[in-house]
Symmetry: C2
Subunit: 226 residues, 2 copies
Amino acid sequence: MLVWERPEPPNRPVPSPLNRERIVRAAIQLADADGLEAVSLRKVAAVLGVGPMRLYSYIASKDELLDLMVDAVHAEIRPVGDGWREVLRSLAETTRQAAHEHEWLADLLGGRPRLGPHALARGEAVVAALGDVDLDAIMPVVTAVDAYVIGAVRREIAERRAERATGMDEKQWQASLGPYLERTFATGRFPALATVVRDAAHLDADHTFRIGLDFLLDGIEARISR
Amino acid sequence: MLVWERPEPPNRPVPSPLNRERIVRAAIQLADADGLEAVSLRKVAAVLGVGPMRLYSYIASKDELLDLMVDAVHAEIRPVGDGWREVLRSLAETTRQAAHEHEWLADLLGGRPRLGPHALARGEAVVAALGDVDLDAIMPVVTAVDAYVIGAVRREIAERRAERATGMDEKQWQASLGPYLERTFATGRFPALATVVRDAAHLDADHTFRIGLDFLLDGIEARISR
DNA sequence: TATTGATCGATACACTGTATCGCGCGATGC
DNA sequence: GCATCGCGCGATACAGTGTATCGATCAATA
């Protein structure tokens, strides 16, 4: 093809000044909008106006990008309060809140060791605020609270998604799950479970989370102050 | 191409009698051997000597297959014991054990509502064994224990994998993580955390799990018998 | 026996993460 | 100032994914 009919190379848009922060922000933006499965290296690169391979100068794999996303969110998690109990409660609540703002976090929490700077800074803040706790008790206590929060948040987000999947509101959800459970319970194979689901009081997500957390904190208190 | 040179259609291997159970078993076998990312519909189908599309007569999507896998494992989880405390402890321990036998379970636990027959049967067994607990307290209590177990197991498996990834044994792990943490702590940005990691007692996975579980059960006991 | 209907699975599609490697550009040496 | 070198970038390629489509095939029916 002759020069004349060959188009000039597009005058490169000022080569996007890239860095990990911009990449991670783009990825988080995609995940916030459309969930974790909307995060592909191609889409992230597209948001940044860049070819996919460009990202590999900054990360070695997609998993690393996910690690960076999780660590970035940990920058928002800073427990506050006086005394170990308030600190741990705050740790749990702020983590849960972060997962509400970034539902994809539920998919990632607990999936890989958190060794990034922001996660470590969070750990530092927690440990520093736990000065009134015996040194050897700190790790088990924080680990236990972390475990509870990870599991509780996962369950909560999973349920929320399932609700949303059937229709938009709780009505549709009950209209679709209710009948299934009703039919299943009608078989008589789960009498005790049926009684609980049908007759026991139902708590909303907030209360459920807090009650479980109270159980745990009560138990910790009993052993700590012993 | 003339008939003469065209090969006869292979005399069909007795069309594999398929059913969900066989499909799920094949998928679990793959996942046990090489992790969840080794489970693709093509590979599952190959194990069964069948085309990939054949599976869609039995499941509507891959997610459904994963749901079936999780439910199948729940058949193994049957808490035993006398009194609510033993039952809940057994529930936690057997779930953890199942995750040790099927590490991929850690990736799935808590990710979707568990409404399958085996999961419900597990729920029935738990609730039935909790006859000594107030009806309205059962859901919150079981939910809390479930949350703790999900989070604790995820953390534990994640750490185990990270260890395995660096080398095979704990030596290599410490040789690779240790220096990183050492260098990071050397910056002086995480003094409290550094003290805990360096000076506090370190518990193994079993103890960590049990201590957290004890915290929780103690807290539950305090509120239940009130 | 001819026709219909359902069923099965090969093929195709859009998309993924990432290895490869030729091109083009900036820096270096003459 | 010019030629050469080296290197980094990113287009292309590859192997794999989940699943929609739809033609061929076979059993059941008229």
